[in-house]
Symmetry: C2
Subunit: 235 residues, 2 copies
């Protein structure tokens, strides 16, 4: 049975890394002594070791060990044998490229479908969708495909931001870019604000956190989704 | 001799489409009765016809006709025979995909190198760089490559925005994303604010408009570029 937390962000303003999620995580990973960390997204270009140390520091406060996937000879086996998996944020383009390069995009999806508890934040959440096409990141490397694990049958826009009505900036808003996406694609897109997450248990998908989310569907007006809404039928 | 205007945006806050650039454009395209418009980027998903009509309305005020490249049977010939070329903004991913699909990425670069006056705004400016890797757009379609025309030997970040120091949003800033780019690439990136443009005459590249630009180079601190700075040696 799937058991997934898909979080918009790792860090809230004024808070420490993962701090707001720790009470959830100590339940989510309660049967894990060690969680496998996928540091591929390398935020700000930090190394796999540096990123893994950051994750380890946060998880140590709930008495869980972290081991980086780059420390294993065989990343496929590392995923198949993991008690729990956490993929951190950073560049979605780099993350997806590395997952394909190491032949673990499908393996990861399969392990999580089979019940390995999974946490994604930001880029690590985007890869839970059908494709990475609603990332906010720059295309800094060229991935072999934009397809991701499809653990949920829709896409995630992480760090969702409402249009700033006072701004004089004329660059496109998230909503405009998602509208452009829907000129070519029919996949629904859920805009998850920072502090929101999806709780996935089996086929049940529920919005958690304090904030509403915004749901974009092709040829439809965007819809506000209240906290605790059951999104199991969304596809 | 190259003769190019590379503009951050088409439209300033409170202004009409291309309005702020029209005095420049009437000089830039002074030998053109008709300018070829490349509407492939389809902002907000509007059609090629709708987008071409919008460009035509703006250019009619300086007595220049616009013809959309989609109206030609042979887009290669359309570019080779154009008196002037304008590529509008929208989705850089869609634009680059269409340029490759129609086999005109190289043809376009060659025509402009040979002296056909060119105007790019937003996505139409990003393709003047070595690659589209510093676009702000979502990867809504999968292009065969991120390489672009290389009319200038660096990359453009259009609609450049400074980090908002009052924001409580923790999503990555432009500067962070460009830093991540430089973890994998050595190409300099010029952040062009809305209202700025590069004037390219032969091998001379000069920053125009009222605002400073920001120059990002690998392993260096970002640099402020003053108006009228000669960027001809930047690469």
């Amino acid at each position: 049975m799937k058991n997934i937390i898909i979080a918009s962000t790792s860090t809230l303003h004024g808070g420490d890394y993962l701090e707001y999620l720790l009470p959830e995580l100590s339940i989510h990973f309660k049967n894990c002594k060690t969680v496998l960390f996928i540091p591929y997204a390398r935020p700000s270009g930090i190394t796999h070791d540096e990123y893994t140390a950051k994750a380890a520091a946060a998880f140590s406060t709930i008495a869980i060990k972290i081991k980086g996937i780059h420390e294993f000879q065989d990343p496929i086996k590392a995923i198949e044998q993991a008690e729990g998996i956490f993929t951190g944020g950073g560049s979605t383009f780099v993350l997806v490229t590395e997952l394909y390069k190491n032949n673990i995009m499908t393996v990861l999806g399969q392990a999580v479908k089979n019940g390995t508890p999974y946490l994604g934040t930001s880029a690590g959440s985007v890869i839970c969708g059908l494709s990475m096409q609603n990332t906010n990141d720059m295309p800094i490397v060229y991935p072999p495909s934009f397809q991701t694990t499809g653990l949920i049958p829709f896409n995630i826009n992480a760090h969702y931001l409402d249009p700033d009505l006072n701004s004089k900036h004329m660059g496109e808003t998230r909503a405009t870019r998602i509208k452009e996406f829907h000129a070519y694609n029919s996949i629904p897109v859920l805009g998850l604000r920072e502090g929101s997450w999806l709780d996935v248990k089996g086929s049940k998908v529920v919005l958690k956190g304090d904030l509403q989310a915004i749901l974009f569907k092709q040829k439809q007006i965007a819809e506000t989704i209240e906290v605790n809404t059951d999104l199991s039928d969304l596809k």
